[in-house]
Amino acid sequence: MAFRGVKIDNENCTGCLHCQVRCSFHHTGRFNPLRSRIKIRRIDRKERFRISFSPECAECEVLTCVDACFYDALKGV
C-alpha cells in the first residue's frame, strides 16, 4: 500500500524499530517506540511485522520514519 507517497513493504521489516525511535524523538523530544505515531506490530506473535500509520501521520511534515528505515520497508515512491 502507499500512504502519502510512502510504500510499505511489511515483508522487509526486521523489527529494528528505528522508524519509531526517530518518529517519537521528532514529535515528542523523547526516544521511545511507544510514543511513536508509526506503529510496528508483530503478526500473530511471530517476528513478522505489520507497519501502520496513525491518523496524525496525515499531518506529519517530515515523515522522518521513511528516512530512518534501513531495510526498504518504508520507501518514498
Binding site: 528505528h18 523530544g29 526516544f31 511471530k46
Partner: protein, 654 residues
Amino acid sequence: MKGINPGLGYAGQILYVDLTKGSTRRKPLEKDFATTYIGMTGFNAKLIYDLVETGTKPLSQENVLVFSAGVLSGTGAPSTPKTEASAKSPATGLYGSSVGGMLGPMLKWAGYDSLVIRGRAERPVYLEVFDDEVNIREAGHLWGRHIVDATNALWDELGDDYYVACIGPAGENLVKFANILVNRMFHFSRTGLGAVMGSKNLKAVAVKGTKGLGVADPEKFMELTSKLFDKIVKHTGREVWNSLGTLISYDMWFGMKPGVGHAPRKNSQEDPSLGAKIFDPETYLKRIKGGSLACLNCPISEKVWVEVKGGRYDNLAFPASDSAGLSVIHGQQLALESFDDSVKFFELCNRYGVDVFSCSATIAFAIELYKRGIIDKVDADGLELEWGDMETIQKLLEKIVLREGIGGVLAEDVGAASKIIGKGSERYAIHVKGIAIPYFEPRVRLCTDVFGAVTSIIGGHGNRAMSLDLMPRERESIIRFCEMAGFPEDAIDRICPPTSLGESVPRLTKWVEDFNTAIWSLGVCTRPPIARVYGLEVCSDLYSAATGIEMSPSELLRAGERIWNLQKAFNMREAGGEATRKNDVFAERMYRDSIYVSGHDKDYEPLEPHLIEKMLDEYYEERGWDVERGIPTKQKLVELGLRSVAEELEKVLP
C-alpha cells in the same frame, strides 16, 4: 558536584526490589557513580561488588541479581540494545554475567538505568514494572511452564507492549546453566543466571516504559549518529551479514580457510571440517531462514526468524538471536546429522531455558564418557548414548532440565559434573573455570577471542576479548584496529612491535578487553560491523552529547580498565587463591590431544604449557598486575581509584 541530568542519556534512577520484604524503592543515580562506572557493565560490576556480601551462596536469598542498560541504550544511537545481567554465579561461585539485548532500552524508557533484585519471594512471583508503578505479582499459574508459553501468558495478561525476561523449567529447577530469555529470543545465557532467578522464586520480569529518553545536545547527537548510520549502512560486509548473520564465518568455523577452524566436533575431539556439508549456508538460506531480524536501531539484521521448510520439523518457527549459535556449535559438538536437528535442539533449549553452549557441551561430555566406558548404561539411566542420536540427546536434555537421574549431575555444568563423576573424567571436561567452552579452538588458532576465554572474568567465554584476529590479519589491519579503539601509542608498539611480523595476542587481549568493557558500558554492540565503525572517540563524543557530561576517550578506556579490575577483584574476594593464575587455564584436552583439520589436511599439536604460561606472563604484565600470581597489584587498584577495594583484598590475598 552538579548531578546528572535525569532523562538525558541516563534515565537517572536505580530501582531496588526486595522480594523477601515485598518492597521496592528508587534511588537517584549519583553523578560520581555514573561517571566512574559509565553504565551497564560498569554499573553491574560496582553494584555486585558492593551489594553481594562476601561468601554469599549463589542460590541463597542473599544473592543479588542486577540488570543494567548501557548509557546509549534506548536513545537513537545505532545498534545499542545491549543489556547485562549479573549475579554471583551458581556455576562458578565467581562473577556471573551475561550480555544480552533489549530489556535495557525498555528499562530506560521506564525511567531506570539498573534494576537490582534481592531476597526471595515465598511463592512464585513475577515483577511488573510500568514506569513508576512496580508490582510483585503472583505467578503460580506460570510456574512450570516453558519460556514461550509463560511469555505469551504474560503478554495476554499485560499486553504485548511489555518486554518480558523469563525463565523456563530449568531456571526453576536450579540448573546451573539455566538462562533468562527476553521476549523469548534475546539471551542472558551464560553462568547460570536463570537459576538465580529461580532461587528467588522469580519467574519473570515484565517492563513497560512510556517515559522515553532525551539527549543533552540533540543537534550534536543527531549529527554524530547520522554519520555512524551512514558508515554502517555502507559497510562492505553488510549485505552478507544481513543474509547469513554469524554464519558469515562459515569458512572459519569449519576450517575451510588456512589456519582457522573454530568449531570442533564430538566434545572437541574431531575435525571441524566434517560438518561443513551439514551446516552450510545454502541449506540455511533455502530451508531454515524465514526472515531477517535486527536489534534496536541496527542496520545489520543478523538475527533470524526461523521457519523450517520440509523435513522432520517442517514449519517449526521461532525467533533466534544468532545463526551460527543456532546451529554450528552444538550441531558440531553433538555431531548432529542435519541442520534441522541442530535447529530443533536450539529451539528446545530456548523453551526449557538452558544455555545452548553449556547444555550441548555437557551432553557431548556424557556421550564421550559413555563411549570410553567411564559411565555405562546404568549410569545413563538405561540410555545408550551415541553421537548424533537426536532422540537420546533430546531425552538427556529433558533429564537435565528436570534434574532427573544423570541429568542431575550434568545440570551442574561440565566442570562440576566431572568432579562428581570422577574416574578420570576430568580429562574430557572441556571448560574454563567450570563453564563449558564448546567453540573456539586454541590448538588451531590462538587469537584474542580464544586466549580471552582463559583470562575471562566469567570463565568459558571469550567474547569479552573479541577483536579482529579470529582469522589471520595483516599487521597494518591490527594497527588500524588499535587506533580505532584508541589504544595509546606505546601500547600499540608493544602489541605490534616494529621488529616482529605478527601481533602480541596477550597484549592485544588486555586492551581489547578494556575497550569492549567500555563500549558495552555504553550499550554498544561489539559485533565487527558495529564496534569497529564506532571507535573510541565517537563513543566518548556520543556519551557527552547524550548526557551533557564531558568524557574524554582516554577516560572512557580507563573506565573500561577500572571495571575489568573490579570484576576481577570480586573473583579474588570470593574465591581467594582460586582466582589467581592457576585458574587461568585451558581444558586439559587442549594440552594433551592433537586435533586434525581435514580442510587444512593438518594435525594440530596440543598446546605447549610453557608457551601458554609465557602468554599469561605477557598479559599480566600488560595489565600491570602481579605477574607471578596473575592478580591486580595494590598499586594498580589504587591508580584506578579502587583504594578501598585494594585494602579489602589485602586481607584476603596478602
